[in-house]
């Protein structure tokens, strides 16, 4: 039977590959991604499930899913002009089909994408975690950017449904789950101060609070507090916390083994090991 063996939460800033190329392996972002990569190596997963949000690149507002799953032989990216190498990576299509079937049976009307590429939200983490692109991925897209957002309770339950599906998959596979995104980030909105950047971190305190709840395994409180209003108060990209909440539903309540905060950027790198 398949099993979830590790969980990871991390940001996906499109500027990170260029920043690390410029500042080298000793810069904080490089070191934090390297620590996550070491955990990935130790967990030796056969599949990486991504809870991720699309930034209007894979999908657009002509048809923007609340939840979608990518089922194909392979995907490629980034598809959004992110300054980094282009990659192609296999998709765990059979497991994805099983998860979709089970999710629908559990009441999640999850959309299907069979011909898709992915943006920086998947490819920036992969660039640092598995640059050889040897581990198949399984992207599950959550609408974190275009209100009305799905509720935190719904995303947590989706994560639980994904775990049940993984655990009922007859193949012996080790699965790692990744939640991709920030806790506090505003891009292009009125919270940005006047200056030379169209982005800011409006609420580093919320970022720290989220991490405190995660570290203390107060997941019920985190889910209850993460209303759309509260997440969006932390910035118009604050809904990316939903990717983390789905991850928490998938891995169950447990203490993380590594927590690396970057509250000035409203984000963190966190790892959980399940066995």
């Amino acid at each position: 039977m398949a099993a979830i063996v590790a969980g990871f939460g991390m940001p996906h800033n499109p500027g990170s590959p260029a920043l690390v190329a410029r500042d080298g392996p000793q810069c904080e972002t490089a070191r934090y991604y390297a620590q996550m990569a070491k955990h990935i190596e130790g967990a030796a997963p056969d599949v990486l499930i991504f809870f991720t949000d699309d930034h209007f690149n894979t999908f657009f507002l002509d048809n923007f899913p609340t939840f979608a799953i990518g089922i194909a032989d392979a995907t490629a990216g980034p598809n959004d002009q992110t300054p980094m190498p282009q990659y192609k990576v296999a998709v765990a299509g059979a497991l994805a089909t099983h998860i979709r079937t089970n999710a629908i049976a559990h009441g999640f009307d999850i959309s299907l994408a069979q011909d898709f590429d992915v943006d920086h939200a998947v490819m920036v983490p992969l660039h640092f975690l598995t640059p050889g692109m040897k581990i198949p991925v399984l992207p599950i897209f959550i609408n974190c950017l275009a209100p009305p957002l799905p509720t935190a309770q719904r995303c947590f339950a989706l994560g639980q449904a994904v775990r049940e599906a993984v655990e009922s998959w007859p193949q012996k596979q080790r699965v790692a789950v990744i939640g991709s995104g920030s806790f506090s980030l505003e891009i292009g909105g009125p919270k940005i101060p006047i200056g030379d950047r169209a982005a800011c971190t409006p609420d580093p305190q919320w970022s720290q609070h989220v991490q405190d709840l995660v570290k203390e395994v107060r997941i019920d409180e985190l889910v209850a507090e993460s209303t759309a209003a509260r997440m969006l108060q932390a910035g118009n990209i604050g809904g990316e916390l939903l990717n983390w909440i789905a991850l928490l539903g998938a891995i169950g309540p447990r203490k993380p083994v590594t927590v690396l905060p970057q509250n000035d950027h409203g984000q963190a790198f966190v790892a959980w090991r399940l066995n």
């Binding site: 507002l61 505003e186 292009g188 009125p190």
Partner: protein, 90 residues
């Protein structure tokens, strides 16, 4: 209201290099074929991002315009103008 068309213009500015160059050369001509209301066209050509925000345009997509100073929107101009948008989240 055709907010969708404004959002699509912002997305195309990222993904469609020929369209981006056309906007740089002659913004009014580049967006002439797009299905915009009169007010939207006027706001976009004036770089009035507060008005566009208040009428439903997505800020993440609008922020693309600052990468190439499209419609006169340098980051400094954009961030100054977006201050007067109505943030309903607080």
């Amino acid at each position: 209201m055709s907010v969708y068309a404004v959002n699509k213009i912002c997305r195309d500015a990222l993904h469609d290099l020929a369209f981006r160059d056309a906007v740089k050369r002659d913004p009014a001509a580049a967006i002439a074929p797009r299905d915009l209301s009169g007010d939207e066209r006027k706001a976009l050509l004036a770089g009035d991002v507060a008005w566009l925000y208040d009428h439903g345009c997505h800020p993440f997509l609008m922020s693309y315009l600052t990468r190439w100073d499209l419609f006169g929107l340098s980051p400094a101009v954009y961030t100054a103008r977006i201050q007067s948008a109505h943030d309903t989240r607080d």
